[in-house]
Amino acid sequence: MGSRQEHRDGDSPGREYLGPARRLLRGVVDRVGLTFVALASFVLLVVVFYYPVATVLVEAVLVDGRATLDIFVDILRDPFYFGEVARLFSGESPVAVAGDLLSADRRLGIVGFTAYQALLSTLASVALGVPAAYILARYEFPGRRTIRSLTILPFILPSIMVAVGFVATFGQNGPLNSALEAVGLPTFDLLYSLEAIIIAHAFYNAPLVARMTTAAWESVDASSVETARSLGASPFRAFRDVVAPQLYPAVLMGATLTFVFTFGTFPIVLALGGIEYVTVEYFVYRLIQDFDYAEAAGLALIELAISLSVLYGYLRYEARQSMQSRGARPLPRKPLRPPSLSVRALLVRVGIVCYGLVAVVVFVLPLANMVLASVTDAGGFTLSHYQFLLERQAEGAAFQVQPWPAIRNSLLFGVASLAVALPIGVVIAVLTTREYRGRKLVDTLAMAPLSVSGIVVGLGLLRGLVFGVELGDTRVAVGGALAIVAAHAVAGYPFVVRTVAPGLENLDDQLVESARALGASRTRALLDIELPLVWPGVVAGAAFAFALSIGEFSSTVILATGTDQFTMPVAIERFIGRRLGPATAMGVVLLVVTSVSFVVIDRLGGDHRGL
């Protein structure tokens, strides 16, 4: 929250009383702030991301010291991966391939199927996320702020927890089927199907769509809607022509990120769908397990190319949107209880109640079942799993993961990586919203940490950082708390870029120019003028960056140099043996700690317009 502090200082009337040391610091920040952060970001990205990842990806094109494209050609021509499209790469006529693609028994291949399920998951996430945004942005009801703070919660959950919650909720013997049976309706069998995977993906990603859309909705200027209405537009027309265009970029951004995330999905698919539905990422994992690095890297590069193309497409679209500068006066919220008994108002409320029921089933029941799983065993109610956590804390050996250090580390790493991710994200947002050729390409590449296969990043961190490099006689390796924070920040900053850049893009250039003309440095103009104007985006990005750190598993466990650096997700994983109770108890601790943090972040940074 450093930048926020600074902009407050800037506003304060007491600034002429600054001590000489602080004045000096201010001077330095003013003069070289932006450049320094940009350079530091670049170095950090190279060290903890680009270099490590490159050590793995290079294996796709460099086999036995020889540059080659054979790996790609083989993958592209393999119907197992590319289905009917593989025949296109093998030189068959596009017409024949297109014909077969339209037939009923077409083969999509692993890559095709992965894209297909990602597309369906994206649609489901948008369908679940946008109504939530509507309710959160447009209605006033008790607990609204808390619910808004907690929407992001599913984002941090390890797949093991989601699997437990989903099986208990949607299983043959789950509460839904019991309820249907009780009223004499036919039961359903949802589990181990594509549908189950898609709902789980929506569980993870609808919150993303919802948060981003809520932010945009809350930034719609009420006066523009009022103008439209006064000119005779119906409420629907005003929505379609004035409000909706301001929401599309946010909805599409949420959708794009959802596609990228679900395109790289893996463990949850195997937990709720089964082997029939495995994705590209699964094969990257398998190939790396078997040390078939060349093919793994080739496949990961193809995966990356597809994700980045989708992101690039979105960024081109985003750049074409020119929205009016964001309004100073948001739309007033309506009470949830209808003020009049008009048919329209009632219909809308009925819709909200229906959506509420769906949301309870998809989001609340799985979470409740996770909690339930942590307090039951074969004999019924038990607190023994929590008792285990206390015992481990009291008596655990140094080589064992202990609950309290895990909680403390999660919070510390979360806050620290947030402090690093925010400046990086803001500076990259500034750099990519300037006018120059190819800036969208730079912007796309800056999103790479979201899109590179997690398995590849893990192996890269191992090779590039943990094993280290030979420098002279010394092997320089990097690990420990700082490396973990750096890795988390690199994974989290793209969210900040995505939530801050659209706002910056739409600011009136004259604002900055006037500030510069009055003697403010570029950095000062950013801190005092631009950031306060796009504050909701900054807070949204911060929330996601923090959430990402809290939920992160693989780079934490790889970079930690001791159990004393493990976090809550690592503890959950480590407690799984042949009984899930202890792990679910730790999972509930993760849920509670994270919920409290989100509410606190929201209260600290949100003001009345925060996200």
């Binding site: 197992f80 299983g171 589990l191 195997l270 089964g274 040390f291 050996a397 092997r475 320089v476 001791g562």
Partner: protein, 396 residues
Amino acid sequence: MRRRKVLAALGTGAVTAVAGCLGGDDGEDGDDTPADTETPADTETPTDTETPANTETPTDDGSGESNDGGTTDGEQATLTVGTYGSFLDAPSVSPGARVKEEFESEFDATLEWAAPDQEINYYIERQRQGVDLDADMYLGLNTDELVRIDSELDDGLFAEAGDVGRVGDIREGLQFDPDGRALPFDTGYISPVYDSTEIEAPETFEGLLDDEYEGALIAQNPGTATTGRAFLFHTVHYFGEDGYLDFWADLQDNGVQILGSWSDAYSAWQEGEAPMVVSYSTDQVFAEADGADLAEHQIRFLNDQAYANPEGMAVFQNADEPELAREFMNFVLGPELQGIIAEQNVSFPATETATLSEDYNELAKEPPEPVTFSYNELKGSMEGWVEDWERQFISN
């Protein structure tokens, strides 16, 4: 305090400790660490000025019961043992703490556990990249992992076990390394577990194809779960290389559900998604501890068989403490440790001489006919088996 630690960690930048390993108090690290005054306490890396705690081990044979791991300056020797995470951390299956305690009370040495998340692949990758292993030995090695190591690394990873006194106590048929490097320290059997209040499980593999068992079995994916791999190997063993894929095609038609991990599958089974699950033959030990009805936790040995999955331990070629490691292996094969490991890891001892409690013998079931593939049978074949299975099963 916390802040200082963080800053200090930045100061060194060179922390060559094993992920998940607390210790790393071994001499190798010392050479790599800048003799920086900021070297923090929490990185466990000795500075140059410190004499490494362990150098040569002057023991002679591996049979000594008293002490060892001698040192040059009177400090204790440290044995670093790599293993998998749940051996240390999961309350249901973690003898790690007890093993360390017993070892340190009997030997004048320190035992440091390391549990990298990638398990044995972590050490294979270190070796491939030419980096010091930072551990003396590994505990928890399957036959197929040993095969993978040897096909990946021309010079291998492990040294021959050498003179370990209690090798003779190991049960018939458990030894799985033809080159005498890995020694088994326990074994498990993989078989279906079923809820007898729902169904009576079939007696044979072929029985699984009957209509009455449609959708009745949950198994795990051989690419991501040890149990899944063992069950697949069992079908290859039973139906042969030429027959197992046909069996699986029929089993798929009969609605077998293949999930990613043992926990995915077992929790689904517990929620009643299917009455049978591929799991361990020690299932009743957990069920009893949970206060569950044992009728809901019945073991079925298909064709009176179960696939045995012995776990081994072996000393790394470049171990700093090879002699101490050998003594550790001998110690692990002793009657008392064999009993402790079997009961706390909920598996079966590797030796004839283990001390096990009566209850344990009652609840942990052994198949009439354990089957398993030898190292030589797996070598060159197993990757193909799994891949062919994957390509047949997954058809998008």
